[in-house]
């Protein structure tokens, strides 16, 4: 018994020494096979030899060998874990990455800044119950001008320098590139037999004018129109206020100035307080020291237009506004030159 126990502790020493020498998974596996292998591992053999142990010693022998087996198994697991730890430590130490190297380029697409701004504006209006509609870019002069109360031979036509399409219809030029999205006021009401109307109409417009840092001949507008019984100018103020806060920050303030557009009465221009200089910059390039940034034209739909739509202008009122999307994008991102938008230089586009 003592001998056996002594043998066992010698065996254990030998096994642990062997385990300590095993430095990788393969030698660990060899060690396991040699000692704990199911077929002829030395401890397995010892267990199997229990039959040759005298009956009265068998219990003690069995317990001792099983305990040895358990210890060796535990030692193996521990050794395995230690080796793994050491390997990871080595990896962290010797295989450390230069994490300042650049990441691998991934294909990344972006929306055009005008699309982004347009969508952000539309979202703000949708949240106030506005629907989104569209109308043609090549338009009849009747919709672009006459129906909007801008007759031929009226100086108000000077407010929109027009690009005309070179097609004669019944001997007259009638087609043009719409100068504003206003014709959609008429078009939307025409196809809406009865109010309410609550719609925003985005789209490209065109002006016959020389380009510079703040003027572009192709531009993107959003026309807004709300027509119903009980629509008031104060609602116009509320809707545009919400929009201004959504686009330029919740602490924005707005004011209306008197203005003139033939299709609205009263007509106003809206300004927002300058969020660049916050009203105290005499040198501010954005507001030119006035503290206010002119941002859009608006007003109450002229009763004649309501009338022409077949609505009762004594009961039904409406408001309309027109937003220049390029101007909004320039303001929100501090873009200094409107011509960047349609030059489509990726060095510009990839910044948004």
């Amino acid at each position: 018994m003592t001998t056996e126990t002594g043998n066992l502790s010698r065996l254990e020493e030998e096994a642990l020494a062997g385990l300590g020498a095993a430095g990788d998974e393969a030698s660990l596996e060899r060690w396991r096979a040699a000692w704990l292998g199911r077929q002829d591992g030395r401890v397995t053999v010892l267990l199997r030899g229990i039959r040759e142990v005298p009956q009265e010693e068998r219990a003690a022998y069995g317990a001792a060998v099983n305990a040895l087996k358990a210890r060796l198994e535990a030692a193996l697991e521990e050794r395995r874990a230690a080796l793994k730890r050491a390997e990871l430590e080595r990896l962290a130490r010797e295989g450390a990455l230069d994490v300042t190297l650049p990441g691998r380029p991934q294909p990344l697409g972006r929306l055009h800044p005008i699309t982004r701004t347009l969508r952000d504006c539309l979202e703000a209006f949708k949240a106030m119950g506005f629907r989104v509609a569209e109308g043609p870019e090549v338009e009849w002069d009747r919709y672009n001008f006459d129906a909007a109360r801008i007759p031929e031979d009226h100086p108000a036509r000077d407010m929109w320098d027009t690009i005309w399409v070179n097609t004669l219809i019944d001997g007259k030029r009638r087609m043009l590139l719409r100068t504003h999205t206003t014709p959609n006021q008429i078009r939307v009401m025409e196809r809406t037999p009865q109010p309410p109307v609550r719609v925003v109409v985005p789209g490209k417009c065109y002006r016959q004018e020389a380009t510079d840092a703040t003027h572009e001949w192709m531009l993107t507008q959003i026309e807004g129109l709300a027509v119903d019984e009980g629509v008031r100018m104060s609602d116009l103020k509320g809707v545009l206020y919400e929009w201004a806060r959504a686009m330029f920050g919740s602490d924005r303030r707005i004011i209306f100035h008197h203005s003139y557009f033939p299709f609205v009465e009263p007509g106003v221009e809206m300004a927002i307080d300058c969020f660049i200089c916050r009203g105290d910059g005499r040198q501010c390039h954005t507001c030119h020291g006035t503290g206010w940034i002119e941002i859009l034209g608006a007003g109450m739909v002229h009763p004649e237009i309501i009338d022409n739509a077949g609505y009762d202008a004594s009961k039904v009122t409406g408001f309309a506004f027109g937003i220049g999307v390029e101007r909004v994008a320039m303001l929100r991102w501090g873009i200094e030159d409107i011509r960047h938008f349609y030059s489509n230089d990726l060095r510009f586009l990839s910044q948004f």
Partner: protein
């Protein structure tokens, strides 16, 4: 319009600081674009009024003279080169250290005195340029007689000039009186109207001239007066100063009076040399076609039969409301003046000046619509000035032919309308005060109406809402509450094409494409590079009459050219892969109607695939990258596309496919033909695809083709078959995917196409990975094997496919 604050003060008291005044005018009247302070830099101690008391020649220079001037603090001697210097003049005088503008460069400078040709000068007598008043530097500025000597110049000449942009329907704002009326209403001041009194002498005017209006539809009123005993000369200094500040050049006393009264009242006037008016009669009539006249600017002009001419007994002497004729112009010898103040139909003047390409101060006012009552007002004011300034004798009476006289317009305004439109109740007393201050006659009709008579100078006010605007703007829009729309919402606008367009944008972005937006106008030449010569629609784009530039003269019928152009432009800036797309319209002409605006997504891609940065550029993007993007988009939309080989102008045959759903095509993908690419300056393989939004939208499933997830595992197996090289892989794949056997579904991906050793000549091997799955059970290996065999048998029958050994 330039508004001198000093001049404005003649009609209304202005006590507000300029910033505040400008802000309130902008809020309620017209946009103040800015202002210029005259005399801001004139030091009151150094720049003062002086009087020339003696002039002597300079001992050493012929062109210079020595002036003795009284500065109010004694006399000093200065050297002066101005030819107009004369004894008795009141002038602007600067002492050493004064801030001025350099007479030559116009740059700000500080006066430093030094001897001129050996004579000391105690200061300088100043020109307008040196004072920053104008570019005039020929002579010195002569101040009005009686200007007190010794006072700071800023006190007599200092001013603020507002630059105001007015509206297309407000001719009255283009007159100082009309503008002052607004300021008075805005600030609660009283309007002081100009003096229109004069005395009459000489003969009865009807003995001197007769007036006939033959076109009363174009000429609503014509007034004429005659002034005799005129001596042509310069107008008084104060009048010249005001004209200059308003941006007009003084000419002579007669012309200056007409311009002055126009600036004052907004009503244009025209002075004829009475003795050049043939037959002593004036006729306002339509031109005979082809009739001609040399106008005051020396240009001979031809008229059409809708243009109104002012004629004398023999022929035209002026273009009504636009410009007078050279044949009757006031000149140095003029002693008698015929003064025309008329009212013309706004649209007619607008049309004439547009067709003649002649915009004048007069036409700009007439075209906005002037009330006909202003004609007599301006006549009287001008006659007052002729008497006071020119010492003229005014003939008795004024000829007044007035076929267009209408009773004053009266508008009934319901008080409730104000709140209905504005959203705020304006108290009765405010409504009455505001409208009254603006010149309307208001009768409150209790309990809740106003009867409002519109003043003649406001023809723009026609309906109750025009009055609501008058009330609103003066009351102040800042006093409107901020409210939110009430009532029901309209039904949703469904626009599936727009929705798909936006979805495609998002998908393209998700696939790594950069959105671009191009000008929609291009050239025929560029369109010809990318459109089929046989395509009669796309090869005949709509042109515009007046393009902003030659390269923007035609509405594009294809997006391809613009996107390829951008590919080339950006390639010059960047290496690496380029993926660009645009969503826009093709404008396809339709006979006699607006063009079809056809929405298209057009994308181009090319360049090396994103490589490992360590390695550098990887292999190049190719057809299958383009097609993969299309498939990914279609897949995301729940559409399984079919691709068929196609030929398309500008794309490389054998590398181009159209795609669609079933037999209906909804787009194209292919390699841009290298010749076409080269025409856009692209020398690398570049690929293009288009999605035709309206063609695709019809095939979108209403809902995603959702299937519940099977609870049973799939059996995965690979299968390589050998088929004729000509067999399209897509057909094989379609067959495999459509295979059904005892409730077993087949999902399949093609992962390799191989030709070469091991595969017979003329054949190719297609490697497929299959996932077999049943909805109701776990497939056994045997079942899977059976499906595989069935599939192989079908492939054998349909395509002659054999299992690759």
């Amino acid at each position: 319009m330039k508004v001198s604050l000093n001049w404005l003060r003649e009609y209304v008291d202005v006590r507000l600081p300029i910033e505040e005044l400008a802000r309130r005018i902008t809020d309620a009247v017209a946009e103040v674009e800015g202002w210029r302070v005259i005399g801001e830099m004139w030091d009151p101690a150094l720049v003062r009024v002086a009087k020339v008391v003696a002039v002597e020649p300079h001992p050493n220079a012929d062109r210079l003279r020595l002036a003795t001037v009284d500065t109010g603090q004694g006399t000093v001697r200065v050297v002066c080169g101005a030819p107009n210097l004369a004894v008795g003049q009141t002038v602007a005088f600067a002492s050493e250290g004064a801030r001025l503008f350099d007479g030559h460069t116009g740059e700000p400078t500080t006066l430093k005195l030094r001897p001129i040709r050996g004579v000391e000068s105690a200061g300088m007598v100043l020109s307008e340029k040196e004072l920053g008043l104008s570019d005039e530097h020929e002579g010195i500025l002569v101040l009005p007689e009686g200007t007190p000597v010794g006072v700071p110049l800023a006190d007599v000449l200092g001013d603020v000039i507002l630059e105001v942009s007015t509206w297309a329907n407000r001719a009255d704002l283009l007159g100082m009186v009309g503008f002052a009326r607004e300021v008075a209403a805005l600030t609660g001041s009283v309007l002081r109207e100009p003096d229109r009194r004069y005395s009459e002498s000489g003969p009865d005017v009807t003995e001197l001239v007769s007036v006939a209006i033959e076109a009363p539809d174009l000429c609503r009123r014509f007034t004429a007066s005659v002034i005799e005993g005129i001596e042509i000369g310069p107008s008084p200094a104060w009048m010249q100063e005001r004209l200059r500040k308003a941006g007009m050049r003084p000419i002579n006393n007669v012309v200056d009076i007409t311009n002055y009264v126009m600036l004052e009242t907004g009503q244009p006037l025209h002075a004829f040399d009475y003795d050049l008016v043939r037959g002593k009669r004036i006729v306002a009539r339509r031109a005979q076609p082809g009739e001609r006249l040399v106008t005051l600017d020396g240009v001979e002009r031809e008229f059409d039969s809708e243009m109104l001419l002012i004629c004398d007994g023999e022929g035209p002497v002026g273009v009504a409301g636009v410009m007078g004729g050279g044949n009757s112009e006031v000149n140095e010898g003029t002693t008698r003046v015929l003064l025309e103040v008329a009212n013309f139909r706004a649209g007619s003047i607008r049309r004439t000046s547009t067709l003649l390409k002649l915009r004048t101060e007069a036409s700009l006012r007439f075209e906005k619509g002037i009330g006909p009552e202003m004609a007599m007002y301006a006549q009287q004011r001008a006659l007052h000035l002729f008497e006071a300034v020119c010492g003229g004798r005014i003939a008795r009476g004024i000829v007044d032919v007035y076929p267009g006289k209408e009773p004053p317009r009266t508008i009934l305004l319901e008080a409730a309308r104000i709140a209905q439109v504005l959203g705020v109740e304006v108290p009765v007393e405010d409504v009455r005060r505001i409208l009254g201050d603006l010149g309307f006659l208001v009768h409150h009709v209790p309990p809740a109406k106003y009867s409002v008579q519109v003043p003649s100078w406001r023809p723009d006010v026609e309906i109750p809402d025009d009055l609501v605007e008058e009330v609103g703007r003066i009351y102040g829009y800042d006093r409107l509450p901020t409210t939110m729309l009430r009532g029901t919402l309209p039904p949703p606008e469904t626009n599936p094409v727009m929705a798909l367009r936006e979805r495609l944008r998002d998908l393209a972005v998700a696939l790594g494409f950069q959105e671009v937006i191009n000008y929609t106008l291009t050239t025929r030449e560029k369109l010809a590079l990318v459109t089929d010569p046989m395509d009669a629609v796309r090869r005949n784009p709509l042109g515009v009459v007046n393009p902003v530039a030659a390269q923007h003269a035609y509405l594009r019928t294809s997006l391809r050219g613009s996107v390829l152009e951008l590919f080339a432009a950006n390639r010059r800036q960047a290496e690496g892969p380029l993926r660009l797309f645009e969503v826009g319209f093709e404008y396809l002409p339709v006979e006699g109607d607006l063009p079809i605006e056809r929405p298209v997504l057009c994308a181009v891609l090319g360049g090396p695939r994103e490589g490992r940065w360590r390695v550098g550029g990887g292999e190049a993007l190719d057809f299958f990258d383009a097609k993969g993007a299309v498939e990914a988009m279609l897949g995301a939309l729940g559409v399984r596309g079919t691709f068929v080989p196609a030929e398309e102008y500008g794309l490389l045959p054998g590398h181009t496919a159209k795609f669609g759903v079933g037999s209906e095509m909804a787009g194209i993908v292919g390699q841009v033909h290298p010749d076409t690419a080269a025409a856009f300056d692209i020398d690398e393989p570049v690929y293009l695809f288009e999605v035709w939004v309206e063609d695709l939208v019809r095939h979108l499933p209403e809902r995603p083709p959702y299937q519940a997830l099977s609870r049973y595992p799939a059996v995965r197996l690979d299968l390589a078959v050998v088929v004729d090289a000509a067999v399209p892989a897509g057909a094989v794949l379609d067959l495999v995917r459509s295979h059904r056997s005892q409730g077993v579904q087949v999902r399949a991906e093609l992962f390799d196409e191989y030709r070469g050793p091991g595969v017979p000549e003329g054949k190719k091997s297609l490697a497929l990975r299959l996932w077999l799955r049943a909805d109701d059970r776990t497939l056994t290996d045997d079942e899977a094997l059976k499906v595989r065999q069935g599939l192989l048998a079908r492939l054998g029958r349909e395509f002659g496919a054999t299992l690759r050994g």
